[in-house]
Subunit: 193 residues, 2 copies
DNA sequence: TTTTTTGTTGATTGACGAGTCAATAAACTT
DNA sequence: AAGTTTATTGACTCGTCAATCAACAAAAAA
């Protein structure tokens, strides 16, 4: 009994299932059947809506990046003062949503994907540019000309903390990551004066 | 015309070919045949020496970690003074050998592997522990009680810089990475005083 | 010199998985 | 009512690949 307008619903379900499965297995070795099953449909339908497995992956990646972008925008809107703005980005980066094991794992695997799929590389580059630009803007009033340099290192720090979270055995600890990043930031700012 | 004592030679060739192929394709989707061909032998022989593909991957990972460990040890031996020792670790981490695109790519993929293969996770944990211990020892005279904390953040920074190298289009720039890490270190130390 | 060990590969097996297709059915259009 | 579009899947194709096997060759041991 086919109801109309299923496409967006199905696609969203597939995207979420993809992220879940990548997080669960910890790799991109996830079959379309697995994804489709998790999303409650046949693999044929998955192929019907997305043309290929790669398209599914890319959609999942876009989804994660979009989510992250929205979270950063939201946090920025609510933030006050330069320090508040930079901190908002940190908090958003390590928010429970983006910092769930499955999301982090997906992120890492997308990094791998970026090495062989140009579109994935492009998407990741967009994320990096936006992160840097947000950080630089926030840091400008605090660090002046040194803003870009600090933004760069803080960005690397964020990625590095992400990475380490993947490998940890225990549950992810966003607060700890934020604290480390914050200390790094404070030190960098203090040194500049 | 089978010459004897081929085992270590074949194994080494396979390990090197594995790293090369992983770096080339940017993923773990490398067939045993590809590896064997690159190493100049049949895939059957690869299976003969290593039992399985996973064993080949693990051997390659051990090789990279061993190489890195040796480089760090060598640099440490030649280093003088606390600052020199910490800097030696940084230089070794971003040395041309470890920071070649193909090596970085292999690292990244081993990170992924660690998520699904316990032995890979174990190996990586060993690396992280050793790195942290080396850094902490070097930092102790400089930072006292704060040494572990700084070592932790510096370790994350190193991994983050690795990660970012993957996306860059140009050739890897170890010197720049060292500079960023060094600045982070200086700032962290300055703040502690 | 027979036997065993080591090296080596072409051919094969067996499984799995991406993508296609034909068929079915419910809704919407005309 | 007839035709079209959208939803949906089971069955199938076609390729790939890890792993095994049978067989051959040469060195070493007995």
């Amino acid at each position: 009994m086919p109801k109309l307008g299923m496409e967006p619903i199905r696609k969203e379900a597939l995207v979420k299932a993809t992220i879940f499965e990548i997080g669960r297995t910890g790799s991109l070795d996830v079959t379309v059947s697995q994804i489709a099953k998790r999303a409650g449909m046949s693999s044929a339908l998955a192929h019907h809506y997305f043309g290929s497995k790669e398209d599914i992956f890319l959609a999942a990646m876009r989804h994660i990046l979009t989510l992250y972008g929205a979270e950063v925008r939201g946090a920025l809107a609510a933030a006050e003062g330069p320090h508040g703005r930079v901190r908002a980005i940190l908090l958003a980066s390590f928010s429970p949503g983006n910092f769930r094991r499955e999301a982090v794992s997906a992120w890492l695997n997308f990094w791998v994907l970026a090495q062989s799929v140009p579109e994935a590389k492009r998407l990741l580059a967009v994320y990096q540019r936006r992160l840097k630009s947000n950080l630089t803007a926030g840091l400008r009033p605090l660090a002046g000309a040194r803003a870009p340099e600090i933004a760069e290192s803080l960005g690397a720090m964020i990625d590095g903390l992400y990475l380490r979270e993947v490998l940890k055995s225990g549950p992810p600890d966003g607060a700890a990551a934020v604290a480390v990043a914050q200390r790094h930031l404070d030190a960098a700012l203090a040194q500049g004066v």
